[in-house]
């Protein structure tokens, strides 16, 4: 699969064709840094002063690289397809190679960053349990009520990073057994021939 780069995108990156190899490498490093930690406009200004070019040009260059990296990682394109895609940018062979290196080295990391963006649903993190027996209370003494106290830890990822939340729950032995058998059925469902066929065919 080839990436289709828009004219704007090509134009933004065209600045790099005129720049030095070390500058492109530096831009690549900055682009990855921004993907990890978010952008920092001060760095654009510093780089623009050093290179004696407008800030916008630097910004477009770095953002163009960021977009190139995220799009390639998003589609998991092969190395050959990546090379064919960037050919359209008209860079030299050396520059293409260094972009490929950047992509190959960092695609998994970029994918894991991207995977945190969308799923805003709480996800399972851990479960702790404790067996309690209620012996007495204000309203009635002499009780023997066994119950399992559960602490459910969930993570929720958001723009500012992931947050843990914990919930204290309780259940009786009978409901516990019911939960186990229901969830075991859930685990069995992924091993059925129906599920396996879907998993095998949609790749």
């Amino acid at each position: 699969m080839l990436l289709v780069l828009s004219e704007d995108h090509k134009e933004h990156l065209s600045f790099l064709t005129k720049a030095d190899g070390s500058v492109v490498e530096e831009f690549g490093r900055i682009a990855l840094d921004f993907l990890r930690k978010g952008t920092n406009p001060k760095i654009y200004e510093g780089a623009a002063r050093k290179l004696c070019v407008p800030v916008g040009m630097v910004q477009h260059g770095v953002e163009g690289l960021m977009f190139l990296m995220t799009e390639s990682s998003k589609h998991m394109i092969s190395e050959v397809d990546f090379m064919d895609s960037v050919l359209a940018l008209g860079f030299g062979e050396e520059l293409n190679q260094s972009l490929l290196q950047l992509y190959v080295q960092h695609k998994h990391q970029i994918r894991s960053i991207l995977s945190q963006l969308l799923c805003n649903q709480p996800a399972y993190h851990n479960l702790e349990w404790r067996l309690d027996v209620q012996l007495a209370s204000r309203s009635v003494r002499h009780q023997i009520v066994p119950m399992v106290t559960i602490r459910l830890l969930l993570t929720r990822s958001s723009d500012v990073g992931s947050t843990h939340s914990c919930m204290d729950l309780q259940t009786d032995p009978r409901s516990l057994l019911h939960m186990i058998s229901t969830l075991e059925a859930a685990l069995a469902a992924v091993k059925t021939s129906h599920a396996r066929r879907i998993l095998r065919n949609i790749k």
Binding site: K74, S115, L117, Q121, I180
Partner: protein, 193 residues
């Protein structure tokens, strides 16, 4: 079992065969148990034809005393000898003690269950539902292709129910189930001690 003076007085009224006849005693006993077990307070609980002839104030006093006595007896898990000796002291006849005790035994478990459910506690998990999904792609990523589960724990707290929803991968669900199994195993072990 310690009873306050007003409860003792109310019960002594009930013991008095000339003030409360046999039929009224039985009806009042029945009404008291029913009142404790019904989910809603019924203001007309004492408007029974069998209780019409009694003085309203005395009737209310003895009703309050009787319900208090029942609650205290259940609270302390009182057996026959304890309730008998207590009622004997309050001049109850053997006949009425017997009637009380048979009604007490009949309703004791229900009242005990009700009383033990009172008070604060964490939400109670009653049920769980699940859905298996295959995550193929999203706006940010292509070719994810991972199965995952959406789990919904149905919990109940003080009469209101709430669902706790979360997602988990197959490995995480295995982890969750194995931890729940550990818990179930330790419950089983504890029950055999």
């Amino acid at each position: 079992m310690e009873l306050s003076e007003s409860v003792q007085k109310g019960l002594q009224l009930l013991a008095d065969q000339s003030a409360v006849n046999h039929r009224s005693f039985q009806v009042l006993l029945d009404v008291s148990f029913r009142g404790l077990l019904s989910s809603r307070a019924d203001p007309t609980v004492l408007d029974q034809p069998e209780l019409k002839h009694m003085d309203r104030i005395l009737l209310k006093q003895s009703h309050a005393a009787l319900t208090t006595f029942i609650l205290e007896a259940v609270k302390h898990n009182a057996d026959k000898s304890t309730t008998s000796s207590c009622l004997e002291e309050l001049t109850f006849s053997t006949d009425r003690i017997e009637i009380f005790f048979s009604a007490y035994q009949k309703h004791k478990n229900d009242i005990e269950r009700l009383l033990s459910s009172m008070g604060r506690r964490p939400p109670h998990v009653n049920d769980v539902s699940w859905r298996l999904q295959y995550h193929m792609k999203n706006g940010q990523l292509d070719k994810i292709n991972e199965p995952f589960y959406l789990i919904s724990l149905n919990t109940e707290n003080e009469g209101s129910s709430e669902d706790i929803n979360f997602s988990c991968t197959t490995e995480q669900l295995q982890d969750l189930v194995s931890k729940l199994k550990d818990a179930a195993k330790s419950v089983e072990k504890a029950s055999q001690m």
